[in-house]
């Protein structure tokens, strides 16, 4: 059916777009929001008023002016503090399950849904 084709295409376009919008220029505040304040209970560097947060802000500003891009700054901080400091789990092989499982579920569900939608017979 036309609608299903349309939706499927839209769907795939979405996935591409969400990846695409990653590369758009980011403000320093956005970077602060993506970093965890290590001495706080569940706050980002942007929200935290702690001393550690203030220091990290300085360093991030330095790196930005030195020409580092967002991912390079995250890599730098991860090399010093471990993966825990960034709020976005990296796209590594160990995090494969995290990033793919939701989409796998979506596809399985889509399969059943389309079967229901186009099947004119009794479906068990």
């Amino acid at each position: 059916m036309k609608l299903i084709r349309f939706i499927t295409i839209f769907f795939i376009a979405q996935l591409n777009i969400s990846v695409f919008s990653e590369n758009i220029k980011i403000s320093e505040n956005q970077i602060f929001k993506n970093l965890r304040c290590l001495v706080c209970q569940g706050q980002s560097i942007s929200e935290s008023n702690s001393d550690f947060a203030n220091t990290i802000k300085l360093v991030v500003k330095d790196k930005l002016s030195e020409g580092y891009n967002e991912n390079e700054i995250y890599s730098f901080l991860v090399s010093k503090y471990g993966e825990w400091i960034v709020y976005k789990p990296p796209f590594s092989s160990s995090n494969l399950l995290l990033w793919t499982l939701p989409y796998i579920f979506l596809l399985i569900g889509a399969f059943f849904l389309i079967k229901i939608a186009i099947n004119k017979k009794k479906f068990k």
Binding site: L38, D51, F52, T55, L58, L77, K80
Partner: protein, 170 residues
């Protein structure tokens, strides 16, 4: 049909087991992952002369202990006597880095409690601390002559930690 149920049950049981194990784990964060890595880009200002000192000062003895401290930090007072003890070790270089402090108050601190530092540096805005993976003071990092991090201590040094250090440098 039955297969579906078995899979779901297995997943649920797996999740419950992981939860049970996680209860007994201590989930405090530590930067022990840094152990084994080398220190890079070491350059900090000298406390008195404001000269830039680089990693040369770390190589004067077999081992170095970098100690981040400040006069306003209460646990730093507590650990200071341990540092004084460690300063007697012949093959251990003690590098102090004064963090976000006022010059006269820092000097007063050292006059009062003693100066264990072979070299005293300053990190006024804390920028350099990030390079060393420091996040809370006091913090002490034990390195060897090749600048490899051997131990990282977050919080004050106590007698247990001093024994750990002593064992390594022997």
């Amino acid at each position: 049909m039955r297969m579906r149920y078995v899979i779901i049950s297995a997943i649920v049981i797996f999740i419950l087991i992981i939860f049970a194990i996680s209860l007994n784990r201590d989930s405090t964060y530590s930067t022990e992952k840094l152990i084994g890595k080398k220190i890079e880009n070491f350059n900090s200002k000298d406390f008195y002369t404001k000269e830039i000192k680089d990693s040369k000062i770390l190589k004067t003895k077999d081992f170095s202990l970098i100690n981040y401290w400040a006069s306003w930090c209460a646990p730093c007072r507590v650990e200071h006597s341990e540092l004084m003890q460690l300063s007697k070790k012949e093959n251990l270089n003690i590098i102090g880095i004064n963090f976000k402090d006022k010059k006269n108050e820092a000097e007063q601190f050292l006059n009062e409690l003693g100066n264990p530092y072979d070299h005293l540096l300053i990190d006024q805005d804390g920028r350099f601390s990030i390079n060393l993976g420091v996040y809370g003071i006091p913090e002490s990092i034990l390195i060897n002559k090749e600048l490899k991090i051997l131990k990282k201590f977050v919080g004050p040094l106590d007698s247990k930690r001093v024994i750990e250090i002593t064992e390594v440098i022997q």
